[in-house]
Amino acid sequence: MTTFTVNGRSVDVAAESDTPLLWVLRDDLKLTGTKFGCGIAQCGACTVHLDGVPVRSCQTTLEAAAGHEVTTIEGLSPNSSHPLQQAWIAEQVPQCGYCQSGQIMEAAAFLAKNPKPTRDDIVKAMDGHICRCGTYGRIVRAIERAAHAHGEAAANPELHKTSYTVGGRAEQ
């Protein structure tokens, strides 16, 4: 049996110790918010926090999680209250949504470490995540929005200048 903490709760899992944490979370613990996309740490969809650090759970064994604290998207906040989740909704980020759990978990760990990122910082941090629907522009805007919400009260004009502008629309 392997014991570790998931979203603040201690769990005992009987799976083989070389089982990827991804499948332990999904199949044994029924936490399906963490997604399977590639299995080789190329897409980021399986990202969870291991002691607060983002890891690809498809390449993290159950053994590596033993005795540690795992946080999944389900445990990021109660009622989607994390500023990133609120920003994700405000910016209407997701399309199919499949990659978004991993994106949000990565961004959450990133902002916790780097609360005042530049746009370049954001892209570097998030580039390991593939979004086939191409929501990249809104992901960047949502992270900037959440960072701003956490940061100074006074608006930083640089943060609001986005390259991903969307034009006006002609009203009829």
Binding site: G33, G39, C43, D127, R132, Y136, S163, Y164, R169
Partner: protein
Amino acid sequence: MSAALTQSRPLSRRSFLVAAGSTGAVISFGSIDALAATGSAGIHSFEPTAWVSIADDGVVTIMAPAAEMGQGVMTCLPAIIADEMDADWHKLKVLQSPSDGQTYGNPAQQGFLMTHGSLSVTGYWDKLRPIGAQARKVLCWNAAQMMKLPVAELTTEPGFVVHKGSKARLSYGEIARHAKLPDPLPEADKDDLKKTSEYRYLGKDVPRVDIPHKVNGSAVYGLDVILPGMLYASVLHPPVQGETAEKIDDAAAKAVKGIRQIVPLPIPLGPLGSAGGVAVIGETVEATKKAKALLQVTWSNKAAARSYDTKAVGQEYAKTAADWSQKGVDMTAFNLSHGDAAAAIAGAAKVVKADFLSEHVAHTCMEPLNATVRVDGDKIEIWAGEQSPSIMQFICAAVGKTSPANVTVHSTFMGGGFGRRDDGPEVAEALLLAKAMPGTPIKVVWSREDDIANDTFRPLVAQHFEIGLDQNNDIVGWRHRIVGASYAARALAEIFEKMGGQDIVTAGLGAELNYKLPAHTVDYVRAEGGISVGAWRGIAGGYAKFAQEQLIDEIAAIKGIDPIAFRLSLLQGQPRAQRVIETVVKMAGWGKKRANGRALGFAYSDALSGHHALAAECSVDRASGRIHVHEIWAATNPGFVLHPRNLEAQMESAIIMGLGAGLIEHVDITSGVVQQQNFDTYRVMRMSDVPPLHIEVISTDDHPTGAGEAGVPPVAPAIANAVAVLTGKRLRHLPMSPERVQAALKA
């Protein structure tokens, strides 16, 4: 929440179909709890009664008939009904419709539940507005009785029927508590529909109903379905599409802990694309994956694909495309062909000839294919994220030897569709395994490697053009030949037959040409090599526009006029087309001097309806051959825009896929073996690859047309046109890889 209405009128059989057939509206009143199923977002397993249901607490539940794959139909289609009936958006619940095509099918899809071809909004627009209007009429009729007032003096505000004079009002919830269904149900006609100016939700940026579930892990995708007693299955697919397992040594596989059964699945390469092989059923995904790796299988060596090499195939198709002695099928349907282009060209002063080649690309939806199926007698239940429940019903009826009426599809969310989730090989595999274990739900999970190797790729296509010009260099005739494998022969066999071999996907939709030409013909030559092809976002538009929009630039150059002016002259009498072009011209600053080493390329597209234009500012690194796209401006007019913000998102999304297909994506096949295996070898656009995108959405009071794919076709030609300005060289081969750019520069 409970009310006399609920008790006295049990919901499941209390449906009332409008016999007139004009709207097919079904309305009932009752408790929402009776309609809700498992409580998990996205999964439903109940009997339908209505498009609209109103609970006595005022919550309005509206059915979403099309498949939500991120394109926003789960929001904008119910919004049509919600607006016409003046439902309160804050008291709205949306449920995915059950797989009952007769009630919920798309008129633009022969009344079936199919979501592809950018036809959802355009198909449901005239069906759903009367349904909403009818619901409003029923509410007012009831309110009139309850308030003892004439119906003519009543109007509605969101969630309320209001008396115009006294302002007395009844909430929809109060009405639901006492409501009856008038007999006969009132018809909704044109005068009952709202004018555009009266819309509260349509044309506005309402928040998407699925998004809250997609930021906290609660959205249920096919892969997330968990049922009691469920087992998992992995499938060892043949190394080359079309081979079968001749000898299976499963001793080591069987010995893996948690494995239940090894099941050969001899599914022939056919309508589903590549499927089957040898399946491993087990208690966990990992166990089945481990066991699959231990299977020792001797495969047959007879598949046609064994001699499929993408390089050779491309050369062969190119030869065929340029050889008019090889007969093709005239694409007379879909308004693609008109006039006698061959005759016009024969008499032309000058003939411009060009050949284009485009490689296979893969779908790589973020969620690998999967499906959960349970068989109980002759009843089949599927849980999966599929674009077309109707297609899945047909497939299961055929494979399971039952009738489509016995097949229930529980639609979950899906992690990407893009045309892939229409083929159903994973559903067929799960069905056959479920038949081997009746009563046990079997979930087939494809690995990413399975997903790429067995994809139904966008066809590898060679195109040949001959364009006749008169002595003024005006176009007299335009001949376009498309050579490639047939999607329709595989997936739409009956239609393909009926249309005499015209392929709506490989050589049809997307290859439209809106310009005013005296004669334009498109013909299709089918060429098969044993590799299954599918519908990939933008379908023929992705490669047809790459060619067409470059040729327009080239002919403009021959004529010595500005390529924008040339396009506008060919679009006389088409103000919507001209407007998107002029909008992008303004947005991008066409005509202004660009920074050193940069040029602007332009493309217009009418592919898949609507009007779209795009400009790309690019530079070329001559040493490496790498094209750098610095910035993109695009304008789109798909008629009336139901959800502007969502449309912008769709354009961004499709443009990014267009960049991928234009610059980097490709599938190499050597002796039938797909060389790309996962995201390390099949490269797609990442965040750092995306340039700044500026999108302008133009809404006009025209019948709404599709927008999910429209952003793809104009991307590659705009880039190629910019490269031509910078280098004087034409790129004819997709993707426009650095190697190909270098080769063009040397030529």
